[in-house]
Symmetry: C3
Subunit: 346 residues, 3 copies
């Protein structure tokens, strides 16, 4: 489409954005990353190390921050642009104008094995080799990709997407508008064993896992169910790939948990907590609302709301950075100590 058309659509989403185009209104045929964008594409710059690419990119149009120097640089190169307070958000909206994600066709593949007691909603899409066991309830417009397995008593809310090869264990409840990515396992048995003289005695995991509306679980992640009660992920929380959520955890609303993080049994996050990759959280601890945890941190005890923590064990980030800087100067400190000792005839 012409840039002028595109700009009109995006400005209808963000009334405070500004658009400017060169004399010739460029045809925009695709969206591209700034490092490799060819002509006739729209790309975006959100400041930082990518800002300098405005002087070299072949993109015909850019989404920019409200930064007059960047805007001028784009104009000087005859690049059309739209400036906005939130370039990444507008870029996400622009992608949605160009890209229609793949959706499997409605219908039930004849190779799917669906128990007669299961209840399916309107307009289901159920792929090849899917297995839906007794007493499952599947909402309207749910899309279940091939080779997914639902154990008995699972419920899946409207419009939820279950990607290929994921597994939902008995009694799991998935809300509406969720996405479960390939290989994820939801509601499996928590790691509950009691040490005895003879070895480990299994504690049966009689609870269930509940995902509220709008939750997304990454590829090959696991969300266990507890011995009693629930593991619960509140609405709009997003988990990346290979994340482990232990039995009986409670994860608040609109959290984001990056890849390979593990949260041990019985711990809880407040709302809008942001966790980096490969973080470990011990069992039975609470992380407060709005807290941010840096990648590879290890949390052993409760963290107050609105903290920013890092390290293993995790401490406030400002303190961590100061101490880590001194840690790198240990050889200097050691040298100074020796000089002082010598000076004093030590």
């Amino acid at each position: 489409m012409r840039f002028s058309d595109l700009a009109r659509q995006l400005q209808s989403l963000d009334a405070s954005s500004l658009a400017q185009q060169p004399d010739l209104d460029p045809e925009i045929t695709a969206i591209a990353p700034i490092e490799t964008a060819p002509a006739r594409t729209l790309s975006y710059i959100d400041g930082g190390k990518f800002a300098k690419l405005v002087t070299t990119t072949a993109a015909s149009a850019l989404i920019l921050p409200k930064d007059s120097a960047l805007q001028q640089a784009a104009s000087d190169r005859h690049i059309a642009w739209i400036a906005t307070a939130n370039p990444r958000l507008l870029f996400a909206q622009a992608i949605a104008l160009f890209y229609q994600p793949f959706q499997p066709a409605p219908g039930i593949h004849p190779s799917a094995v669906i128990d007669s007691s299961a209840k399916l909603g309107n307009n289901p899409s159920i792929g090849a080799h899917v297995v839906i066991q007794a007493d499952c309830i599947v909402g309207d417009d749910v899309r279940i990709h091939p080779n997914v397995v639902l154990y008995p008593g699972v419920s899946v809310g409207d419009r939820t997407v279950l990607h290929a090869n994921c597994t939902l264990h008995e009694r799991t409840q998935i809300g509406a508008d969720c996405v479960i990515h390939s290989g994820a396992v939801i509601g499996s048995e928590g790691f509950g064993f009691v040490p005895t003289r003879e070895g480990w005695l299994k504690m049966e995991q009689s609870g269930r896992t509940v995902l509220e509306d709008g939750v997304e679980i990454g590829c090959n992640s696991a969300v266990d169910r507890p011995a009693v009660g629930e593991t619960r992920i509140h609405r709009n929380t997003k988990l990346d790939n290979l994340v482990q959520i232990g039995h009986g955890c409670t994860i608040g609303e609109a959290c984001a948990i990056a890849a390979q993080t593990g949260i041990a049994g019985g711990s809880s996050l407040g709302d809008r907590v942001i966790i980096g990759g490969q973080v470990g959280i011990s069992n039975q601890v609470h992380v407060g609302d709005y807290t941010q945890v840096a990648g590879q941190s290890m949390i052993h005890s409760d963290v107050p709301p609105q903290s920013i923590v890092m390290g293993s064990p995790a401490i406030p980030a400002t303190e961590f950075r100061r101490i880590a800087a001194l840690w790198k100067r240990l050889p200097d400190m050691q040298r100074t100590l020796r000089q002082l000792q010598k000076h004093l005839g030590g």
Copy 2:
């Protein structure tokens, strides 16, 4: 059931336990976690931070430690209780009285694809879309959930459970009474490549993986097979989710390995080793019997039996804690050093 009936059953399992009930023998209909237990449920308190919940819980009955203050507090609130030396063990046994885990019905689903050379034991349960390839041997009362794949030459012992979407590679031997959770991959090729001028040359992985009786492997974990010889996990050892066991490892009896831990090729654990989450163990090292390793530790060299270690690299836990405390005081030490230098005209 009535509390008095429940207490009788539990006391038959633990003769040294004490039971006390209020005037009215309460009806117990379910088991619940202490934080959210409603009336007519049995819950448990194992001391620690949960002890104070005895003053607020709505549970009608509790399993308690042998702690007279806790017992008195429960009695004061007319809560029935059973006191035992091991509340968590008795609670596990109580769950088993109320909860019957899901077991798939016996039979072979018509969509399963089973090679004619495979041998099946008595009373098999083989789910939809299972694939069992040439020369596999499946014991009695084995339950194979949907979409499981057995490569050729796999053997599975009596009563073992294979959960949906797990994969057992060629020549893998699984003992009796094992549980392989969803998405786990057993006996896959070890990561064996030899660097050459042209790149990486693949070392064929001709060995096999052996799990002895009573082993449990968590969701999406991987236990590789080696180039030659065996990867072996001895009896009664339990692995949590997303654990990686490299080619040629030997894991002792009755170990417990928490989620996201990785053990590199050729390493070994003794018996009853307990490993926290996200631990890394380098290749070709040995961890002795009864050793405990804290979460996120990294082990580079042999660890003697009965050690307690933590840190990356791991050192004895008492030493780690002392040093970590001083690490946090580096700014103080730096300040003192400067004062001393100043004092000495440095």
Copy 3:
């Protein structure tokens, strides 16, 4: 086969190797690891802690380094041997003489579901319950094990192997001679969300993942696709199990990435980079050619080529080791500081 025959075959692969056999030319029937090798097997010693096993092994033949003491020790025990500059390489080649890896038979299993628009090459092997969706292109001699799912528009190059239960998402391109292990997920949606007042807005992931020729991806690993552009792994790079590659990453040629490492969105590795297990790499950083990263390191910023780094955050390994040694001496330093203070009447 007789050792003399075996030696002849191996010497044809490595002309600079030396062979010596005892008076009796032993029959070699299998390959075995040095720790447990029985009679009539070939094993290998590559120096290090295994060297002393030359005095106890029951192996009838050994591949040895060019080390005259080891060779003499083997001869003294009447063990046949071949000495080479690269024992591990020659051992890999010896395994290939004895071991024929399992390959599924050619043919298309009747339970496979293949869209009529998909194009299959010559001599395909497509297992039970495989799903190949619209517009996929599968090359010659490709082997697809059971329960694999290809989303629409996937292409798979000649001779590539897809192991059971792996998933290739829409538009993924896999080169020739690749191996995708069980449970791996390629081309799934990157973790792209924009924070808004209402929660997380999903950024559609319109890009694709490309694996070039000779790439190997371990079990249950995930290689996401980006919002725009590509995630690309260059030729001959090998990933171990449970590795996470974020959206938009570029991984160079002939890299090796050990288990449970995670690389966040938009980062890149040069060629022949070697990454240990459980390493974390932040988003938008570059690691230069030939760099080596120790296990459990965390990389926050660009690393120059040919570096050797370790630590969280990662620094040059020599510096890390010096500082880590001083870190362990913090109690000593603290004591010295106190003595100096006392001495000065502090």
